[in-house]
Symmetry: C2
Subunit: 353 residues, 2 copies
């Protein structure tokens, strides 16, 4: 067997996954397994409820450990994808212990001393970390990749988005709820619900996360604030409507972008196609366009329906689908680790207080 | 029993429904039954395949007649909701026979001598008919109602829309396809498809109708062209992305509107709430907002999530859901007839050639 050319794999690092039983944790495990990440350099953690259970990994059984601050001896990198409360409690403590925390929650994303990173867009930002690096919300990641690609053609002027978000973004329980409701409806039974405030099967919820005073949801605010931070464009005008749809995996977005000059769709298609992590799927004549079921389980952000905005001379319209658990979360986290290894940024400059 | 105060009901008119077995035809029948429209002033028509079958109506059985041009003797009004080909063949012939045709297809909507009418918005346009009045596409109708309400505050400058369209817009076969695919998926079986080019269950299709050369679909063009015609604003900038979602009934839309001045959401809420046919459902604190399952089977267009557009000083953002079979089709048709009766416009000025 040849020696791996993957610097992260050769690094000898030990990784902990906190939230290993969750929807994102499971995909993280899958990605590590695909890389043949050695089982003895992997620790799976979850809540006390799951501690002691075993998870299959590369032909072995890994026992789940309770994710307590004192369980991280010998761990170099912790990927946390649990609840925001878990992230708030664990991340600063681990950072002080010298563990690099890659955090999936919204707890630290907008903190000035925490880089918020999509490696294809602002990979160098990992250099500024003080022990915690955040990954963006799963709707932000594909959007900033598209915007970064288009910005190479002309400055961005304004962005509006309508999302179509899969239930796995809420977690594994929401996927079960959708499945159970669908089963009940096709069998003519009454539906039950516990995760969402309304039925999601055969329905749409124009609410993701809680509402704020301005009528936007926290999800919609995240999209604006995180996009601005990642693109280093603190005043970029952006407005979105975030909607939950009865789909298991992959978020989709209808995006209107205004640029500083008219951009031909062919130009846009070219820069999008050559942007790392994006695959252009745009052959309408053959009904070929991004769809959630096609993006699910795949790495790239799928972008298509690229056309002029018929309502604005400098506008483009497009449609994207992206696996919210993969590039929207676990894959992006792994790529952040790769970037930190590559740039020699594993040791924080100084721990977060 | 008291005499009806409904002038259309008292008119003595005889109505034919062409496409009585279809998704829209069935809703039209329901609306007529709710009005206690007399069975002897109603003729149900469909294709030769359905001719002879019986449909229950107000405790009677009505036999379906084949919808041929020579079957309309004694009919005053024909509501056609079949295929575009059927509309193209029948409507001009009937108009020449003096039948008022209210047509649900895209065949005549953009024809200059055919009024395209949403009674709450441009009811008086029925006066210009020459035998055919078209009803708009089911995504256009709720949008123009919202735009007409907002226009009372300030001129419209630009509109962008992302739609979330129910499968019943395609027809009853598409509803069965969604149900069958959902059943197969929850039971772990393979799905089959025949109506759509891709699976619709647990998925999204960013294609409604066929693609045109500019990258937009015919559905997206309809939305622009029909909105301009109904609002009498032939240059209104409008761009949309039309998406099919796994929902049975009710189309939803995320709408960005730019006006000629900043409009306070409270002002917008007021004019929307007082606009006929619109119900404002906008209480985010109680997770109360328009949803397709709440709009289905109801008359009003539900509008909510009304807020400032954080990306434009003169912009508003909102979300709507509307029963695509009811106000999106059959109800609007019935209201056009009411308007024609009320305005004494039943007889055309001169038949369409």
């Amino acid at each position: 067997m040849s020696v791996s050319t993957d610097p992260t794999l050769r690094s000898g690092l030990r990784i902990a996954i906190v939230g290993a039983t969750g929807a994102v944790g499971q995909v993280a495990l899958q990605i590590l397994a695909d890389r043949k990440w050695p089982a003895d350099r992997l620790v799976l953690m979850a809540s006390a409820r799951s501690a002691g259970k075993e998870i299959a990994y590369l032909g072995r059984k890994l026992k789940i450990v309770e994710g307590r601050a004192d369980a991280f001896a010998g761990i170099d990198v912790a990927f946390i994808s649990a609840t925001t409360a878990v992230s708030r409690e664990l991340a600063p403590v681990l950072a002080r212990q010298g563990v690099l925390v890659i955090d999936d929650s919204g707890a630290f994303r907008m903190q000035a001393d925490v880089p918020l990173v999509v490696p294809e867009v602002n990979g160098k930002d990992v250099l500024g970390h003080r022990g915690i690096i955040s990954i963006p919300n799963c709707t932000t990641t594909p959007l900033v990749m598209v915007l970064a690609a288009l910005r190479s053609l002309a400055p961005l002027r304004r962005v509006t988005v309508a999302t179509y978000q899969a239930v796995s973004g809420t977690g594994a329980a929401a996927v079960r709820e959708l499945d159970e409701q669908n089963a009940a409806i096709v069998e003519g039974r009454d539906t039950a619900r516990s995760v969402y405030p309304h039925r999601i099967a055969y329905n749409l919820l124009p609410q993701v996360d809680r509402f704020l005073d301005d009528g936007y949801t926290a999800e919609e605010h995240k999209m604006t604030n995180e996009t601005r931070k990642i693109l280093h464009e603190p005043a970029l005008p952006l407005s979105s409507t975030c909607v939950r749809v009865p789909v298991r995996i992959s978020h989709s977005e209808a995006v209107h972008v205004e640029l500083a000059r008219p951009v031909d769709p062919a130009e846009a298609r070219r820069v999008l196609a050559s942007f790392p992590g994006i695959r252009v799927v745009d052959d309408p004549a053959n009904s070929d366009y991004p769809m959630p079921d096609q993006a699910a389980g795949k790495d790239p952000v799928l972008v298509g329906r690229i056309r002029r905005d018929s309502s604005h001379p400098d506008g483009l319209v497009l449609w994207l689908s992206c696996d919210n658990l993969r590039k929207g979360a676990a894959l992006n986290a792994m790529q952040i680790l790769d970037e930190a290894v590559r740039l020699g940024a594993l040791k924080p400059r100084a721990a977060v207080n």
